[in-house]
Amino acid sequence: MASLITCPHCGRRPKEEFSIRGDAVPERPEAAASEEAWHAYVYLRENPRGAIREYWHHVAGCRRWLVVERDNLTHEVFAVTDAREAATGDAA
């Protein structure tokens, strides 16, 4: 696994400082969405080989939620963004 993550707030940090929540790809459906949509959101996950998108929490650093885009095959890290910026599309 990628062992160094460049946090947008803290800089290059060891992976031990983070806690991984999981897949950041599924989008939360509307509260009134169908049972199938909620089932898919809660339970169904792709298991890709290669580029993945995950939520990481910088527990021992800035305590911000981050979106880490990395390759689970080559361990390359493509991008690390603050989750709020990733959600709002704000690159500030």
């Binding site: 400082e17 527990v59 305590r63």
Partner: protein, 182 residues
């Protein structure tokens, strides 16, 4: 001499029998610093950061874009709270009893800290005056560079004993001494 419980430092027992005169490499435990945590409300991050830099008698330690630790060794908590209360968009809480402040200094300080943190502490990467939250001896704390060969560590009180022991062990090969400082 008897010391009232409230004035006993959490590391008091670990200090018994410490060396009377400090070596070049030395770990100082600051006895009674005043510490606050500060959080900016959404949208107020920049104005709060600016206002904190103007508060007298405190040193600002960065935690995140909206989160700071404030340290003072020469002001009363009440006076600092009064200044902080006047800053719009800021929430704060006193943490003097919740955090322990230690200073490590000496020519081998970076070699000692290299055993405790996984962050590059070369002056080009972590300059004097900088501070950052990081894992210190596997405990989430805050490290600041206060001089060329001086660093300050803030860790939660309940972890302080463990971090102190780890630092002592790391400093053993460099003959690091330790003691209380005011």
């Amino acid at each position: 001499m008897s010391i009232p419980f409230t004035h006993r430092h959490i590391l008091e027992d670990r200090m018994s029998g410490y060396e009377p005169s400090p070596n070049a490499n030395h770990l100082t435990v600051l006895r009674r610093p005043v510490i606050f945590s500060a959080l900016a409300h959404a949208g107020h991050e920049a104005s709060v950061a600016e206002a904190l830099s103007l508060v007298e008698n405190i040193v600002v330690r960065s935690v995140s874009p909206s989160d700071w630790l404030l340290v003072s060794q020469n002001a009363e908590a009440g006076a600092i709270a009064a200044s902080l209360g006047a800053v719009p968009g800021l929430s704060f809480a006193e943490q003097s009893d919740g955090q322990v402040l230690m200073a490590v200094s000496g020519p081998d300080v970076r070699k000692i800290l290299a055993k405790c943190v996984a962050v590059d502490l070369h002056a080009d990467a972590f300059a004097e005056g900088e501070s950052a939250p990081m894992m210190i001896c596997r405990v989430a704390g805050n490290l600041a560079r206060t001089g060329t060969d001086t660093f300050e560590i803030l860790v939660p009180r309940s972890y302080a004993g463990y971090v102190f022991d780890e630092l002592r062990e790391a400093g053993r090969e460099y003959a690091m001494t330790r003691g209380f400082g005011e």
